[in-house]
Amino acid sequence: MQQAVRFTRSIAVAVAMTLGLGLAATSQVHAFDSIEATVDYRKGVMRAIGGNTAALAAVIVDGADDYRANLAIHARYIVDMTKDIPALFPEGSDFGETGALPAVWENQEKYAELSENTHKAAVSLLSAIEGGDQDLGPRFRELGQSCRACHDDFRQRD
């Protein structure tokens, strides 16, 4: 009888421990997943910025004039999503499938400054588009230059 009680107790302890460990492991997986999701989100946004930039180039530089009316849509996306680029790179999102260099977190001031330059360049392009400016090339160039300036020091080579 006593043996049965002891056996039941050890089973209970084992179950509790397994559950406990399992729970801890689950929450770790969740934490890991959420960082992965952060990196995925960031990459998605960056790709979308790239896609909108490619669309802008096709119209502004290469003359796909049929889509001139869409220019503001593309530029506005870039304006909106560059408002706070550093927020896409929270602490702890510096591992896994990211091309971000440690400099993003080590030199946050410079990173914020270069991000701000990109935002300003996007705002200036959008206002030129909305103002009906026909010569958008130089402003588009400035936007591109700001992307490159940041990738120079803050993203792995590719």
Binding site: M46, G144, R148
Partner: protein, 307 residues
């Protein structure tokens, strides 16, 4: 306004024509003082085309132009780009045009010592004498900066400079660029810009065990250990840039944007910033024409999409 009126009223009748005459003379007087302006301008263009700036200027805000100090990492240690301003003591102020030609085409200093191939003389050896002379004229025209050269920090077996003589036997094929008669002027201009000036192959080609360019995989990119890889720029559709049009290549050289709207980073961002973005669109087009004419080489570097 009032001042101008007073001056007109007070000045003698002949003052206007004389002043006008003087003003007309001034530009030609200035031209006579600097007969080499045109040459210097060509030299500045050639300096951009040859990509000299990023290795010879420190990578920091307001770094003195071309005064050296830039760290260049390599498997053999860290090289520091030297001062090439016309400062007589720390730069190249005591050099002649021939000294520069020797450095660029033979990899030797005025005192005869060997330079390391971190200076891409294996490519520059194809440079035309007229471009070297233009670069020389430009380098003499810039501000001399007194800044001592920083000694290279190399692994022990790379410190013995005379050993480079043997390296050169293996890897240096001296001689100016020879145009191919069967190809167009544009192709030849592109070949010259890519090979002699831009020295693209120096990074975009895997190296052999002795540190030379692998002749079978020219422009097919190289892996850099943990540091990622340098892309294959042959027109292979799967592993190179075979899906890029000439327009895409030109835009990349001009502003660093690839067909996906992504922008170059790292070393290539600097090559574009200080080099290819300064070239005329004709020259960018010539480079694209040449690159698109290369034989496609399949060389998978499995570059992940970095964001």
């Amino acid at each position: 306004m009032g001042g101008a009126k007073r001056l007109t009223r007070r000045g003698p009748w002949w003052s206007a024509p004389v002043l006008l005459g003087l003003a007309l003379c001034l530009p030609s007087a200035a031209q006579a003082e600097h007969p080499d302006d045109e040459l210097i301008k060509r030299g500045e263009y050639a300096l951009h085309a040859a990509g000299c700036i990023s290795c010879h200027t420190k990578k920091e805000d307001n770094a003195p132009f071309l005064a050296g100090g830039r760290a260049i990492e390599s498997p053999f240690g860290t090289f520091y780009g030297p001062n090439i301003t016309p400062d007589k003591e720390t730069g190249i102020g005591n050099w002649s045009a021939n000294d520069l030609a020797r450095a660029l085409t033979e990899g030797r200093g005025p005192d005869g010592r060997h330079y390391y191939p971190a200076l891409p003389y294996t490519s520059y050896t194809r440079m035309k004498r007229e471009d070297i002379e233009a670069i020389w004229a430009y380098l003499q025209s810039i501000e001399p900066v007194r800044q001592e050269n920083k000694p290279h920090e190399l692994v022990w077996y790379a410190r013995f400079r005379p050993g480079l003589r043997f390296w050169n036997v293996l890897h240096l094929r001296p001689g100016e660029f020879v145009p191919r008669e069967s190809e167009s002027d544009e192709w030849n201009r592109g070949a010259y810009l890519v090979n002699a000036m831009g020295h693209c192959a120096e990074c975009h080609t895997p190296r052999t065990r002795t540190g030379g360019l692998d002749p079978n995989r020219l422009f097919a990119g190289q892996r850099l250990g943990d540091d990622g890889s340098i892309p294959n720029i042959t027109p292979d559709r799967d592993t190179g840039i075979g899906r890029w049009s000439g327009r895409h290549i030109m835009r990349y050289l001009d502003m660093g944007m690839d067909p996906d709207g992504d922008f170059a980073g790292g070393t290539m961002a600097e090559v574009i910033e200080h080099g290819t973005s300064h070239l005329s669109s004709e020259d960018q087009r010539a480079m694209a024409v040449y690159l698109m004419s290369l034989a496609p080489i399949r060389h998978d570097l499995s570059v992940p999409t970095h964001r």
